[in-house]
C-alpha cells in the first residue's frame, strides 16, 4: 500500500512508475514571493482563450471575409443595396461585483459587431470560479439590442459605473460599463459606452449607451 493507502501497481509497471515518480521538477525558490509582488503591483492573469468557434473564426478570417464578400455581392446583385462587412466579437470580462451583492464574482459577456453595435449583453455569476463564462455559470441578466430600463416598483435604484475595459473588441480599453441595480439587488440595466465619445447635452456630458 502507498502513503495514501492505495493499491500498488502490478509488478510489470513498477519500473515505469518509478521512473515517472523520479521525474521531479522544482520551481526556483524566489518564484512565490515574486508572484505575490507582481500581483500587488497590479499584474493580473491573462484573459481566458476565446471559445473554439471564435478562434476558428479568427483563424479563418480571410476565408470568412471572402465568403461573406461573395454572399454580400450576391445580395447586392439581387437587391442593389450596399452595406459594410462587419466582424462579430465576443468579449468575456470577469470578475467584478455587478449585481450589488458585494462579491466580485460577476462576469460580463459582450457580443458586438465591428467594435460598435452591441448585439447581446449578458451578466453571469462565475459559480465555478474559473474567471470566465462556462456552461455551469448562472445568467443573472441578459439583453439583446439597445439598452432599455424597466425598473421595478419602489425606490432604491442604484447606478454604478465601471471603467475602462475594451468591452466591444474595438481596440483600446476605453469602454465604460453602466449598471443599475434594483432595490433588492439584481440588475435592471447594463450597458456599455465609449468614454471618448460622450455627447454634451444641456451642459451635461451624456455617454451614448449601447
Amino acid at each position: 500500500m502507498t502513503r495514501h493507502g492505495e493499491q500498488e501497481s502490478p509488478d510489470h509497471l513498477r519500473e515505469i512508475e518509478a521512473e515517472l515518480a523520479a521525474l521531479r521538477f522544482e520551481p526556483r525558490s524566489s518564484l512565490g514571493p515574486e508572484l505575490l509582488g507582481r500581483y500587488r503591483h497590479g499584474e493580473r492573469a491573462a484573459p481566458a482563450a476565446a471559445p473554439r468557434i471564435i478562434r476558428w473564426a479568427r483563424h479563418h478570417q480571410r476565408m470568412l471575409g471572402l465568403a461573406a464578400g461573395l454572399v454580400v455581392m450576391t445580395g447586392l446583385a439581387a437587391r442593389g443595396v450596399l452595406g459594410p462587412l462587419a466582424r462579430a466579437t465576443l468579449v468575456d470580462h470577469c470578475c467584478v461585483d455587478l449585481d450589488g451583492q458585494e462579491t466580485e464574482d460577476d462576469g460580463l459577456l459582450v457580443e458586438s459587431i465591428g467594435g460598435e453595435e452591441v448585439r447581446k449583453l449578458t451578466v453571469y455569476e462565475d459559480l465555478d470560479g474559473d474567471g470566465r463564462y462556462s456552461p455551469g455559470d448562472r445568467i443573472t441578466f441578459t439583453r439583446r439590442g439597445a439598452p432599455t430600463l424597466a425598473p421595478p416598483a419602489g425606490d432604491g435604484l442604484k447606478a454604478r459605473r465601471f471603467c475602462c475595459v475594451d468591452y466591444d473588441g474595438g481596440g483600446p480599453a476605453d469602454d465604460g460599463l453602466l449598471v443599475v441595480n434594483g432595490p433588492g439587488g439584481g440588475i435592471v440595466l447594463a450597458a456599455i459606452y465609449e468614454t471618448s465619445r460622450a455627447a454634451t447635452r444641456g451642459g451635461h456630458i451624456q455617454p451614448l449607451l449601447r
Binding site: S9, P27, Y39, D126, D130
Partner: protein, 188 residues
C-alpha cells in the same frame, strides 16, 4: 521500486489561523506551489513557460480567493481545477510539446552524484517526457496529476470527475501504453 511518496512534504489541507490575504496566498503557495509547478511543468517544454503559467494560476487563485468554499472542495482540488483551466487555455494557443531537449531540464531535481550520471538521468527524463507527449491529452493529464501533484487517487478522481477505482485502472492502462512506447523506441 514502488511509489510510496513517503519522502514528500505533508500537504496543508486547512487554513485555520490564516488571516490576511497575503498570508493566505503564502500558505496556499507554500502548500501547493511545488505541486502545481510540477503539474504544469509536466505539460510544457521549459521552466520559463511553466513560470508564466504559474503566474496565471496564482493570480487567478488570488482573484478568486474569496469565492473559495472549503465545504465544497479541498483547497488542493480547487487550485488544481484552476490550474487545469489555465493549462487548457494555454494549450488552445499553443501546439502540444512533442520534443524535449536536454537544455530545457534545468529545473529537474537530480540526485546523481557525478556530472556524467546527471547527464544520463536528464537523457532518461527527456526520453520519458517525449514519450508522454505522444499520449492522448487525457492520458497525459492523468500522468501529470498522479506523478506531480502528490494527490491521492480519490483527490485525482475529484479533479477529473471520475471514481477512484477508475483512476487506478486508467492509470495502469496508460502506464502499459507508455511502457510499450518506450520499448518500441528503444528497439527502433
Amino acid at each position: 521500486m514502488p511509489t510510496t511518496l513517503d519522502n514528500r512534504p505533508p500537504r496543508m489541507t486547512a487554513l485555520a489561523g490564516v488571516n490576511s490575504a497575503d498570508d493566505r496566498y503564502r500558505a496556499w503557495y507554500e502548500a501547493h506551489g511545488g505541486a502545481i509547478y510540477r503539474y504544469v511543468r509536466f505539460h510544457v517544454g521549459s521552466a520559463d513557460e511553466a513560470e508564466d503559467l504559474m503566474a496565471d494560476v496564482f493570480f487567478r487563485v488570488f482573484e478568486a480567493r474569496d469565492r473559495y468554499d472549503p465545504a465544497r472542495a479541498d483547497a488542493v482540488v480547487w487550485i488544481f481545477g484552476i490550474a487545469r483551466n489555465v493549462l487548457r487555455d494555454h494549450q488552445r494557443r499553443q501546439a502540444v510539446r512533442k520534443h524535449v531537449s536536454i537544455g530545457d531540464l534545468r529545473d529537474l531535481i537530480c540526485s546523481a552524484p557525478s556530472p556524467e550520471e546527471r547527464l544520463m538521468q536528464e537523457e532518461r527524463s527527456a526520453r520519458l517526457l517525449a514519450a508522454t507527449a505522444q499520449l492522448p491529452a487525457a492520458e497525459r493529464e492523468l500522468l501529470a496529476l498522479k506523478y506531480s501533484s502528490d494527490m491521492s487517487g480519490a483527490e485525482i478522481g475529484q479533479v477529473l470527475g471520475i471514481k477512484e477505482a477508475a483512476v487506478r485502472t486508467r492509470l495502469w492502462r496508460v502506464l502499459g501504453r507508455l511502457r510499450t512506447l518506450l520499448d518500441v523506441e528503444a528497439r527502433g
